[in-house]
């Protein structure tokens, strides 16, 4: 790939960042001033950002000749992309523009995180990564974590709204109950993907590559902890005491651990330390 194309893709990410940030500000402005123009601009900016984002990812894919999901940079970029995808679907289904304000900070944060990570692309994949399981394991895990990212945004919005309203649920379009419900739906979609993609596909691949399903590798255990937190979230919902605020805290904890697990490559080493 020529330098200019490379340059274009990298600068593309800059534009994507500003578009998402602008969209986020539009949605946040809509919280204060209910004028239709804000979410309309927000949606246009998000869609434009998402389109450019997709082009950049596909461009990198074509340039590398492999799916760009092997380095930390590629992963966080894709995670941000997934979060925006989830948000766009959510906006389409709920027709609730306020969700943009809750979900876009996650995407903006992830792009900012990606910009801190090395974007080098001339990298030899270690043999263990040269497998179609890479595509299954990582892409499904990314979708799951994207859903968790948006759920985390919803939960933060929930806590902010709840502390403002003193837990008195409002009757407006985006009531606490509805926020809680949307968070649950996102986690209910993310959880099976995470279970199958991050844990099971990972274990099956580990069996093929390293000879064992489960080797107590730091990243495996960290992923198990994430899975346990979301398992607790799903089960605890059945108990009245755990609904609302505790559920939101669990959802935020879950995604904080996802990010921790991701960055833990720098701390733990182990078999998953691909930087």
């Amino acid at each position: 790939m020529s330098e200019s194309v490379e340059q274009l893709i990298v600068s593309n990410f800059g534009v994507v960042f500003w578009l998402y940030l602008g969209a986020m500000l539009m949605y946040i402005a809509y919280i204060g001033v209910r004028r239709r123009v804000f979410p309309v601009i927000g949606l246009i900016a998000t869609t434009a950002g998402f389109t450019l984002h997709t082009i950049a990812i596909v461009g990198r894919w074509a340039a590398l000749g492999r799916l760009p999901l092997s380095t930390m940079y590629e992963y966080s970029t894709l995670l941000a992309w997934g979060a925006v995808l989830v948000l766009l679907l959510l906006l389409r289904f709920t027709r609730e523009p306020l969700l943009g304000a809750a979900a876009l900070p996650a995407a903006v944060g992830l792009i900012a995180l990606a910009s801190l990570l090395p974007a080098r692309r001339e990298m030899q994949l270690v043999p263990a990564l040269q497998s179609y399981w890479l595509k299954i394991h990582v892409s499904v895990a990314i979708l799951a974590e994207a859903a968790f990212a948006v759920a985390c945004g919803m939960s933060i919005a929930y806590l902010i709204k709840a502390s403002r309203a003193g837990m008195q649920d409002s009757d407006d379009a985006l009531s606490l109950r509805r926020l809680d419900d949307i968070t649950y739906r996102l986690i209910a979609v993310g959880y099976p993907l995470f279970t199958i993609g991050a844990l099971f596909a990972g274990a099956i691949w580990a069996k093929k590559a390293w000879g064992t399903f489960w080797g107590w590798d730091p990243k495996e255990v960290a992923t198990l902890v994430v899975w346990l937190v979301y398992s607790i979230y799903l089960h605890a919902r059945r108990l009245k005491r755990w609904q609302g605020r505790p559920a939101a805290v669990l959802s935020i904890t879950g995604f904080a651990l996802v990010i921790f697990t991701f960055l833990a490559n720098y701390i733990f080493g182990g078999l998953h330390s691909y930087q």
Binding site: F93, T94, R95, E122, Q124, L125, P127, A128, Q130, S131, W133, A173, R178, D181, I182, R185, A188, V189, Y191, P192, T195, I196, F200, A203, I204, W205, K207, K208, A209, W210, G211, T212, F213, W214, W216, P218, V221, A222, L224, V225, L228, V229, S231, I232, L234, H235, A236, R238, L239, I267, F268
Partner: protein, 461 residues
């Protein structure tokens, strides 16, 4: 009482939390005390008493400690009991026909109410027919005053998702346990031509060839081992394995897991020989193999007599290689003049001025580099629980999708006369409000019911 606690849902939740905490603590411990930390290391760091206490607490291998494994087992037991206890009522609820709501049993606040221009009998029939056409299981009951109660249900097999997931997870843990108890896993470093004997089996496996593949930039991109299974002295199977593509024979798996330098051997080494008196002359470069003899002109010959890729010497003065990494490559060179040994000494790649460099005076010999000989790191495993684990993956994967993605719909409807010619349909969903739309919106099904009644009207005309 104890049994009740053991099988309760709340206990399960507490065990979930404890397991998450224990895993996080173990993770921190393995980071703080990396694999290979010994009791000795601990006593150096913390003193003997504390070190012993730490070992008893299981800090060196938390995942097999007295607090982690039993917790995992307790969790499995709770999961099993909890699932079994719920299963009969789940199955009953699935197979029983839904029971229709009685008059005035639905809260009007939480229901969607539709007024239609038909008598309640027609409205009730249309409602039932629409629901049946939409693949709902429907049961209805007629009360006095033209009130009809209708209950409808769809995808009630969704309830099987949770127990199926739990069954899958239990199988995973059982399968893992079987492999942990009855299987084995060993790592062997094999040189070309060497045979590996397999525990509990009569065959051996020979490494025929080990190869590295390089990419254009000269980085190692892959590595391969060609293995032959030898049974009763006869080769029965040959396969080239690589990472992600193991050899399986008679329940034993051979995984390519690593490679390393041969500790005591190399392919070729390069030496620079210079004459100390003649500083003007450039040094002469020679390539030498282990055991090779090379003439330096005149009566002088040199031989490479020994090698170590990670030079270490034990207390008896025996040289060994501390690892299979080229951390301190050293070559032993002997200089013979007219057939008699003049000097023999070790030369170090990374310490060119170390002792011995002058031992060959008036010559000076430098160890410049070497082409390594590699050996293959192979993981030999026997995992008898594998098929159970795979069954677990299958069940849990299907189960978790069914439990969380499939929507079990339950609808309660009361159709009651409003005036003589109109009636109302009071529609209540027993699962949570449809998250996608504002809850006051008329559900799609009600639109379908209206459509069906309009259709009837046309037929009558």
């Amino acid at each position: 009482m104890f049994f009740k606690t053991l099988e309760s849902f709340r206990t399960g939740l507490i065990l979930f939390i404890l397991l998450a905490a224990a895993s996080a603590i173990s993770l921190a411990l393995t980071t703080h005390f990396p694999a290979g930390t010994t009791v000795h290391d601990l006593s150096v760091r913390y003193g003997e008493t504390r070190a012993l206490l730490l070992v008893r607490l299981g800090v060196l291998n938390p995942y097999s400690s007295w607090w982690y494994l039993p917790l995992l087992m307790l969790f499995t037991l709770n999961l099993t009991l909890c699932t079994l206890r719920r299963l009969p009522s789940t199955l009953r609820a699935m197979s029983a026909r839904p029971s229709p709501p009685g008059p005035d049993s639905l809260s009007r606040d939480k229901s969607v109410i539709l007024t239609v221009q038909h008598d309640s009998g027609t409205a009730a029939t249309s409602t039932s027919e629409t629901l049946i056409a939409e693949r709902y299981t429907v049961s209805s009951k007629t009360y006095g005053d033209g009130v009809h109660g209708i209950a409808a249900r769809k995808n009630s097999w969704q309830r099987l998702g949770a127990p199926l997931t739990h069954l899958g997870l239990i199988l995973l843990i059982i399968g893992g346990g079987i492999t942990a108890i009855m299987g084995f896993r060993t790592h062997v470093d094999v040189s070309e031509g060497q045979e590996v004997s397999v525990p509990e089996r009569d065959f051996v496996v020979r490494l025929e060839r080990f190869e590295l593949a390089m990419n254009e930039a000269g980085e190692i991109s892959d590595y391969f081992s060609t293995l032959t299974v030898v049974e009763g002295g006869q080769p029965v199977l040959t396969k080239t394995i690589e990472v992600n593509d193991p050899l399986t024979y008679d329940g034993i798996n051979f995984y390519q897991s690593s490679y390393g330098h041969e500790g005591r051997s190399f392919t070729s080494a390069s030496l620079a020989v210079e004459a100390l008196e003649d500083t003007a002359a450039s040094p002469r470069l020679v390539r030498i193999g282990l055991g090779d003899t090379i003439s330096l002109g005149g009566d002088d010959v040199i031989t490479a007599t020994d090698f170590s890729v990670d030079f270490k010497m034990d207390s008896q003065g025996n040289v060994f290689s501390a690892s299979s990494e080229p951390r301190n490559p050293a070559i032993q060179i002997a200089l013979l003049r007219s057939g008699t040994l003049v000097a023999r000494t070790w030369l170090f790649l990374m310490m060119p001025e170390f002792h011995g460099a002058d031992a060959f005076a008036p010559l000076k010999i430098h160890f410049m580099g070497f082409e390594p000989r590699y050996r293959s790191g192979i993981q030999v495993t026997h995992s008898p629980g594998t098929s159970i684990v795979f069954a677990g993956f299958l069940f849990a994967s299907i189960g978790v999708v069914v439990a969380l993605i499939v929507k079990h719909e339950r609808i309660m409807i009361l159709v009651q006369p409003k005036t003589s010619s109109t009636s109302e349909i009071v529609w209540s969903r027993s699962n949570r409000a449809d998250w996608r739309r504002r809850s006051r919106d008329v559900p799609d099904l009600l639109t379908l019911i209206e459509g069906r009644m309009e259709g009837k009207e046309c037929q009558k005309v």
